[in-house]
Symmetry: C2
Subunit: 160 residues, 2 copies
DNA sequence: ACCTGAACACCGTTCAAGT
DNA sequence: ACCTGAACACCGTTCAAGT
């Protein structure tokens, strides 16, 4: 709180007129990062082929995480306060790629399909940020093949 | 440190004869959770079909995370100290399922395949623990379909 | 050797007072 | 209304002293 306050040109106690406590301030920052992620996804190039579009968004997702490691760690922090604003901001970010999932597997299974790719993306980048992969080289390829494998698998599994 | 010490029947300062600081103690706990996860994976039922075996291990992985939410959050904490012991313990846990990946996609692509399924598992359970999924119901099904889709996709993509 | 109380440093938080 | 210094609570850490 001290550092944040000074960075804004005031002192720590003054923050308590805007935020009731540290958790609330952190939650507000989390919302900003969700919005920023949503913008990054929306900026990714689109295509008529949903697999291409989702691949571009997947790359944008990973780039965002690597460019904002602290912010990214924050938005999925299990110990963070769960707020309604955070849930809304997260839903808005997820919504960006839903149309492509609909195009890929149909309306009925779009949410389910998102629940397969999104965890992979989150898991991959958070493991990467945590330094969990033993051998650094080959990571880019693993990411690309992971995305490709999952998207191909989704189309096969759900298109029948 | 105070709580840990009291839980063990001593006082906080005494901990500093075993651990140089809080980070080192937390790192030691992390190693224990990795070993515990490795045991949980090793205990999962096996089959001649690598897809069945990996599915069982995936379920064991998720069960472990849900049974030990704090410990699970710890082992992939991006802000945690990276230690050599932790890296070894993690490698040992990963090693449990490598033979099944070899059986699924061959020696050459086993590591790459592990780098697809493992991030999905980690991402799914950490999102689940963080309360990131909007609609609670359907989560079990999403997990099962995710694992099935990825394993099927891996076999198709890498078996050629 | 192992443990401890006392003390220190740091930081989130409260509050009375200043403008 | 908004901001602040001073004070408090809490907790990680150090250290001199006890056994």
């Amino acid at each position: 709180m001290t550092d944040v306050a000074v960075a804004v040109g005031i002192r720590a106690p003054s923050l308590y007129s805007r935020f009731s406590d540290r958790d609330e301030l952190v939650a507000a920052v989390e919302v900003e990062y969700w919005r920023s992620l949503a913008r990054a996804l929306a900026r990714a190039p689109r295509s008529n082929d949903p697999i291409r579009t989702l691949t571009m968004q997947a790359r944008a997702y990973r780039s965002f995480a690597k460019a904002n490691p602290r912010g990214y760690a924050l938005i999925y922090d299990a110990s963070a306060e769960r707020t309604e604003d955070g849930a809304r901001a997260r839903a808005a970010a997820v919504a960006v790629s839903i149309p492509s999932f609909v195009a890929l597997v149909g309306e009925r299974d779009a949410l389910m399909a998102a629940r397969v790719l999104t965890p992979f993306l989150h898991g991959f980048v958070s493991m990467e940020l945590a330094g969990a992969f033993r051998l650094g080289p080959g990571l880019d390829e693993a990411f690309e093949r992971g995305v490709a494998t999952i998207l191909a698998g989704l189309r096969v599994t759900f298109r029948e």
